[in-house]
């Protein structure tokens, strides 16, 4: 990275300090945007890697995690949903008796549990029947529709935001100077970046280095054969859904501490971008999800201002081009077929 940066700086000899600062700022922006995409995509890719299907409900779980944590941490609802007059913690001053970290943990666990329920009721019956895997896609779409509209029914379409106090006394932004130019990045972004890296490393370790990972890969490739080796397919799938839900909930909450929960469709809007991310990175590849997220984030950050109208298209243009050059995605493994 540093080398690349210095190369770029050399390229702009006239005003090296300024342009290097600009570059650095864009780089940081890209990483921060990308880590949000990545953290969303992780849970997506987990389920894809084992079942080979896209869980469209992931966006809803992502949002629901945020709502759950919010409920536990703040305990207050808006003006339009069924729950508008319900006081969750009657008599407790300042909303909730539990602090943000505990709420985050509980909220994420609940989201994980929701993942398990979804597996049990919307996916397993299809698997048991050996149905067209695409049907699972429709089923998860149905689940997403149910969840999103239930949220809207319960708490309305309003925007909720975590109070800025949840991260204690951390300043809103980190800043330092390069030459005379200040470089700034929001603290929340740094937190998200770090968390997604930690999760990546953990997952990478579990899946790449342990027996669990090996078993998961076996289940992913061929459930019948895996079961013939004594691997409990259902249990592993359940664990995967729990993990995916947990990560989704956690990610949703973290992201919403940065951007607020902008309504029940909050998570769904990430859905498509998240899909692009995991396909770009290589389906089923955990590091791929992170690399894909960062690549798209960086690409968006480096779109010149006069083309900002096409910023959104950039992600998909990259996706399209990369797929044509490297059909298995950046870190995906080509499907080998021997005849």
């Amino acid at each position: 990275m540093a080398l690349l940066a210095s190369l770029m700086a050399d390229g702009f000899q006239k005003e090296p300090a300024l342009d290097f600062a600009q570059f650095l700022q864009n780089l940081l922006n890209g990483l921060s945007i990308g880590s949000v995409y990545a953290i969303f995509a992780l849970g997506y890719t987990l389920i894809f890697s084992i079942l080979g299907i896209i869980n469209f409900a992931h966006g809803a779980i992502f949002a629901l995690g945020a709502y759950l944590t919010f409920t536990l941490a703040v305990g207050e609802f808006g003006i339009n949903g069924i729950l508008k007059n319900v006081d969750l913690f009657p008599g407790v001053e300042g909303g909730s008796p539990i602090g943000f970290p505990l709420a985050l943990l509980l909220g994420s666990l609940l989201a994980g549990l929701l993942g398990v329920l979804i597996e049990r009721f919307a996916f397993r019956p299809l698997r048991a029947r050996g149905a067209d895997p695409l049907l699972a896609l429709v089923s998860s779409l149905g689940v997403a529709l149910v969840l999103v509209n239930l949220i809207q029914l319960l708490v309305g379409a309003e925007i909720y935001s975590f109070p800025s106090t949840i991260y204690g006394s951390l300043p809103p932004a980190v800043r330092f100077d390069v030459g005379d130019t200040p470089i700034v990045i929001r603290t929340v972004q740094v937190i998200i970046f770090v968390v997604s890296l930690v999760i990546l490393l953990l997952l990478g370790y579990v899946i790449g280095r342990t027996k669990i990972g090996k078993a998961l890969r076996a289940v992913a490739e061929n459930p019948a054969t895996a079961s013939l080796l004594g691997i409990s397919v259902d249990r592993y799938i359940l664990i995967t859904f729990f993990l995916s839900g947990f990560l989704g909930g956690l990610a949703g909450t973290l992201v919403s501490t940065s951007f607020g929960i902008s309504g029940p469709y909050f998570g769904v809007t990430y859905g498509l971008k998240g899909l692009a991310v995991i396909v770009l990175g290589g389906l089923g590849s955990i590091p791929g999800a992170v690399v894909g997220g960062l690549v798209i984030g960086l690409a968006e950050a480096f779109v010149p201002a006069q083309f900002s109208a096409y910023k959104e298209a950039v992600a998909f243009a990259i996706l399209f081009v990369i797929l044509l050059v490297r059909p298995q995605g950046l870190l995906g493994r080509a499907v080998i077929q021997k005849v």
């Binding site: 945007i33 339009n80 309003e158 925007i159 809103p172 469709y265």
Partner: protein, 366 residues
């Protein structure tokens, strides 16, 4: 077909989909109007009844909602929420000769869809310039301006056009124009560009969630100058998005809770009593839509009792009556021109003042 009692007025707005944030405020506004006018005795003794149909988020949903209302025999329709939906659904009402009042359709060309189409939402071009002038009043040294807008939102796109023209007319230098999507959450790229351009005024056209996030990120990353928010930010929903960082945003308003008319004060009081915040513009405009129907119907009823009318005749008559009248509404005194375009006298510029991280108010500026 005879006119049924109570008199049914249709409301077709987006109660679901990601437009619901706006739609649900319109439902609230319309409901408050229904209650208020029925307490006043409705149409000279005959109560009104609002019939709600969800347009959802797409054009087909809007057409379906309109068709359902027309079939159910409403005398007129308040709706839909978005201009794009209006372009799809209004022609249906026009052909069925059912009067429509657009509560929030601000794009160019809406009243021109037909004789039966009018709106209570002022077109963008007349609202926006006030804010720029106000900003210059607050800080005459402003020279360099950054303009940002949500390119996928029809309203924001036309609003930003007005903003940019006004800025140029005021001899300001628009140094950067940045686009985003209403679904975006991360604006660090745009903010960096703005900071790099060293501007002393930022003008944002977007909706509450994206606009609020943009403001928050501008402030957190160190922008210190004035911010003008377009009409999409004109809602207390924004408070929970940018929190304390909302403080100081200038907003051009087509509606202000501080409008002094008696009916507005009643409306604001009612709304506050129920929802513990000031009513947003979307609620006020929906309220106004219902009010205009009610008052026009009252006029007709005085000449000839409503329940003696044939429905089709009444709809035609109602359309005529709407266009000739003048109304004291929460938006102030309004009337319509021949095409159905709104004549609104009062526009406002407010500045956001935050009490704490979640509550604030729009303070009316002279």
């Amino acid at each position: 077909q005879k006119v049924a009692t109570p008199i049914e007025i249709g409301v077709a707005v987006a109660q679901t989909s990601n437009v619901a944030l706006l739609g649900q405020e319109q439902v609230i506004g319309a409901r408050l109007a229904e209650k208020f006018f029925n307490n006043q005795g409705g149409i000279n003794g005959t109560p009104i009844k609002l019939v709600f149909q969800d347009t959802g988020g797409d054009e087909a949903g809007a057409i379906n909602a309109f068709q359902n209302l027309i079939r159910d025999g409403v005398v007129g329709i308040v709706g839909p929420t978005l201009s794009q939906h209006a372009f799809a659904a209004d022609p249906i009402a026009e052909r069925a000769k059912v009067p429509v009042l657009g509560p929030s359709n601000t794009a160019k060309g809406i009243p021109q869809i037909g004789d039966f189409i009018a709106r209570v939402s002022a077109p963008v071009a007349v609202v926006a310039p006030n804010a720029v002038k106000q900003a210059l009043k607050l800080d005459p040294d402003i020279k360099r301006v950054a303009v940002l807008y949500a390119q996928n939102d029809a309203f924001s796109v036309s609003e930003t056009g007005t903003f940019q023209e006004t800025a140029k007319a005021q001899k300001l230098d628009v140094v950067t124009v940045q686009k985003f999507q209403t679904t975006d959450t991360d604006f660090t790229t745009q903010v960096t560009a703005v900071l790099g351009a060293k501007v002393d005024l930022v003008i944002i056209s977007g909706l509450a969630a994206d606009g609020g996030n943009l403001v928050k990120q501008l402030r957190q990353l160190g922008y210190k100058g004035l911010i003008i928010g377009g009409n999409g930010l004109n809602t207390s929903n924004i408070f929970s998005v940018c929190g304390r960082d909302c403080d100081g945003i200038l907003i051009a308003q087509a509606y202000s809770p501080q409008q002094s008319g008696a009916i507005n004060q009643v409306f604001v009081k009612e709304y506050r009593a129920q929802y513990k915040k000031d009513p947003p513009q979307f609620a006020a405009q929906a309220y106004t839509g219902v009010q205009v129907f009610v008052e026009a119907l009252r006029k007709i009823d005085r000449k000839k009792k409503l329940n003696t009318w044939d429905l089709d005749d009444l709809r035609a008559e109602l359309n005529k009556a709407i266009l000739v009248g003048s109304y004291r509404t929460p938006l102030g005194v309004i009337s319509f021109d021949k095409e159905g375009e709104l004549n609104q006298k009062e526009f406002y510029v407010a500045q956001i003042k935050m009490k704490d991280a979640r509550n604030g108010s729009f303070v009316f500026l002279k």
